[in-house]
C-alpha cells in the first residue's frame, strides 16, 4: 500500500544536533513543524474521529430502536456488530480498499464499524435496565408509547449510552492512527512518515503524544457532558 505524500519530511542533515542524532525528543523540531505537520494532522484526526462517532451513534441508535422494539432482532444485530468488532482493523482497512478505494469513506466505514458494538450494546442495555415499575407508572399516567420512550426510557438510558460513547470515542481516536494505510490524514500520518525516515523518534512521540492527549481530552469533555446531562445520578441519598 502506498503512503500519501507527507507535508514535510524531516531532514536529518539540516536540523539541530538533536534532530541530526535522532534524539529521543527534540523540541526544536516540534516548534519548527507544529504549523506544517502536527497541527494539520491533529485537525484531520479530530475530523475523522468525530465523523466516525457521530455516524456510528446514529446507526447504533436506529439499530437499538429496532432491537429494543422487536426483541427477536436483537441477537442477529448483536452478532453482526460483534463480528465487525472482531475483524482486525488492519485487515478491515485493506479489505475495504477494493470496494471503496483509497478514500475517507474507506476509513470511516472501518472506524464506524468499531463503534457500533459498544454503542449498540450500551444503548440497548440502558433501555432494558429502565425499571418496569417506572414504565408502568408512565403508561398508567397516560403517556403514549412514544412519550414513554422519549421522556422516560431514553433519558434513563443516557448514563449507559454516555459510558459507551466514552469508550467508543477513545478507541476511535486510537484506531484512527492507522488511517494512513489508506489516506494520508490524521496523527498516524506523521508517525508513518517517521517510521519510514529511519524511525525519527521525535515525530513519533510528538504525534503519538498528541493522539493520547486528544483521547484524554475527548474523554474529559464527555465526562463533563455526562455530569451536565444526568444530574440525578450524582445526587444519592444524603
Amino acid at each position: 500500500m502506498l503512503l500519501g505524500a507527507g507535508p514535510v519530511i524531516p531532514n536529518f542533515g539540516s536540523g539541530t544536533s538533536c534532530e541530526v542524532n535522532n534524539g529521543w525528543f527534540c523540541t526544536s523540531w516540534v516548534r519548527a513543524h507544529w504549523g506544517d505537520t502536527l497541527q494539520p494532522a491533529l485537525v484531520q484526526h479530530v475530523e475523522l474521529s468525530v465523523l466516525a462517532v457521530v455516524i456510528g451513534l446514529a446507526i447504533a441508535f436506529v439499530l437499538a430502536l429496532v432491537g429494543f422494539r422487536w426483541r427477536l432482532l436483537d441477537p442477529p444485530i448483536g452478532v453482526f456488530s460483534d463480528f465487525l468488532y472482531t475483524i482486525p482493523s488492519l485487515a478491515l482497512f485493506q479489505l475495504l480498499v477494493p470496494l471503496t478505494g483509497l478514500s475517507v469513506l474507506t476509513v470511516e466505514i472501518a472506524l464506524v464499524s468499531y463503534t457500533l458494538l459498544i454503542l449498540y450494546r450500551n444503548l440497548i442495555e440502558g433501555l432494558r435496565a429502565v425499571p418496569a415499575d417506572v414504565v408502568e407508572a408512565a403508561r398508567g399516567s397516560g403517556f403514549t408509547r412514544m412519550q414513554t420512550f422519549l421522556r422516560i426510557e431514553l433519558p434513563l438510558a443516557l448514563p449507559a449510552l454516555l459510558a459507551g460513547l466514552r469508550i467508543a470515542t477513545v478507541s476511535t481516536i486510537s484506531i484512527a492512527t492507522i488511517a494512513p494505510i489508506v489516506i494520508a490524514k490524521g496523527l498516524g500520518n506523521p508517525i508513518f512518515i517517521a517510521l519510514k525516515q529511519n524511525t525519527f523518534k521525535t515525530e513519533i512521540f510528538a504525534a503519538g503524544g498528541l493522539a493520547v492527549a486528544l483521547a484524554l481530552t475527548a474523554d474529559g469533555l464527555l465526562v463533563l457532558a455526562q455530569r451536565g446531562l444526568t444530574p440525578w445520578t450524582r445526587r444519592a441519598r444524603a
Binding site: 417506572v134 399516567s141 412519550q147
Partner: protein, 312 residues
C-alpha cells in the same frame, strides 16, 4: 382537567388469559359509589391487581364492561382515560431522572399546563401529603420509602382525577410508617373525596381504610362485597370467615370508638380517651386487669366508665 369524584361500575368484568383454564377475573360486578374507598382484597391469585388494571386498561377486558360515571372505559381514548385516573403502585415508579416537582407535574404537563402552574400545584400537593415544600427540588433517590410513596400519591392527585387506583400502595413500607400513611391517607381522603379503588392483601388494612370491602377468591370471583362491619359480623361463607381471620370479633371492635358506646356512671379506674377504639379499651382492660375503665373527654375530665359487658 377532570374534576370531583366519579361512580365506578364493574359490570360482569372478565379477564381470561389465553391458554389458561381459570379466569383471572370472573364476571366481577360491583358498584363503587362516588367518593368512597373500595378495597379489593383476597389471597394471591385472586385477581385483585388484574381487576384494578382493567379499569385503566393496562390490562384489556375479555368480556363485560367497566363504566366511570356511566361511560364505558372502552368508548374512551385510552390515553385520555389514563390521564383522568390517578394511579399509585407499590413500587411507586417515580421517574428517577426528574425532580419531585417534575414528577408531581407529570399529568398536568401532559395537559399542557404552564411551569408556574405546576410549581404552585406541586407546592400545594406536597403540603397535602405531609411533605415540606422544599422537597420539590430533590430527586427520588434522595427520599426514603415513605417519602417516595407520598410523592407517588401527590403525583396521582395532580391531575385532580375523579377516580384513583391504588395497587398495594403501602405494602413495601415498614409497619410504623405504614400505619401513619394509612391515617394520613384517610385524612387526605376526607379532604379530597375521590373515588378510590385500593388493592391490598392485608385484611387489617382493608378494614381500616375501606368504606366497602370486596373479597375476591382464587379464580377472580367475588366472594363478598360489603362494609367492613357487615363482613366481620356476617361473613357469607367459610372462605370469607377464614380470610378475615379467627379474631374477626376483635377486628370488629376496632371499627367502633367509645363515642359509640353507652357509658356507665363516672367512676375511678385506669383512664382511656373517649376517642379510643373499643378494641383498645378491651386491650386496656386485659392489660390492667381492672374491672372497669374511666373514660375521659378531650380535656381529660372523667365523663363515664366502661366494663367488658358494655363493650362487647
Amino acid at each position: 382537567m377532570p374534576g370531583q369524584a366519579a361512580e365506578l361500575v364493574f359490570d360482569e368484568a372478565t379477564k381470561q388469559y389465553e391458554g389458561r383454564e381459570e379466569a383471572a377475573v370472573d364476571r366481577l360486578s360491583l358498584t363503587v359509589p362516588a367518593g368512597e374507598i373500595c378495597v379489593l382484597v383476597g389471597p394471591s391469585g385472586g385477581g385483585k391487581t388484574t381487576a384494578l388494571k382493567l379499569v385503566n386498561r393496562l390490562i384489556s377486558l375479555t368480556s363485560g364492561d367497566i363504566r366511570i360515571d356511566g361511560i364505558s372505559i372502552l368508548e374512551q381514548d385510552v390515553v385520555e382515560l389514563r390521564r383522568s385516573i390517578g394511579y399509585v403502585i407499590q413500587q411507586v415508579g417515580l421517574f428517577p431522572h426528574m425532580t419531585v416537582e417534575a414528577n408531581i407535574g407529570t399529568v398536568p404537563r401532559l395537559y399542557g399546563r404552564s411551569k408556574s402552574w405546576i410549581h404552585a400545584r406541586s407546592q400545594e400537593l406536597l403540603e397535602l401529603v405531609g411533605l415540606d415544600p422544599s422537597y420539590a427540588k430533590r430527586y427520588p433517590a434522595q427520599l426514603s420509602g415513605g417519602e417516595r410513596q407520598r410523592v407517588g400519591l401527590a403525583r396521582a392527585l395532580a391531575g385532580n382525577p375523579p377516580l384513583m387506583l391504588m395497587d398495594e400502595p403501602f405494602a413495601a413500607i415498614d409497619p410504623i410508617v405504614r400505619a401513619r400513611l394509612q391515617d394520613e391517607f384517610l385524612r387526605l381522603h376526607e379532604e379530597v373525596r375521590k373515588t378510590v379503588v385500593f388493592v391490598t392483601h392485608d385484611i387489617d388494612e382493608a378494614i381500616k381504610v375501606g368504606d366497602r370491602i370486596a373479597i375476591l377468591r382464587p379464580g377472580g370471583r367475588l366472594a363478598q362485597y360489603d362494609t367492613p362491619a357487615a363482613i366481620l359480623d356476617h361473613p357469607v361463607d367459610d372462605f370469607v370467615a377464614q380470610f378475615v381471620g379467627a379474631d374477626r370479633a376483635l377486628k370488629a371492635l376496632a371499627l367502633r370508638t367509645l363515642v359509640d358506646v353507652v357509658l356507665g356512671p363516672p367512676a375511678d379506674g385506669p383512664r382511656i380517651a373517649r376517642t379510643a377504639s373499643v378494641r383498645d379499651a378491651v386491650s386496656k382492660l386485659i392489660e390492667t386487669r381492672a374491672d372497669s375503665l374511666a373514660v375521659t373527654d378531650d380535656d381529660g375530665k372523667i365523663v363515664g366508665s366502661v366494663w367488658l359487658e358494655k363493650l362487647v
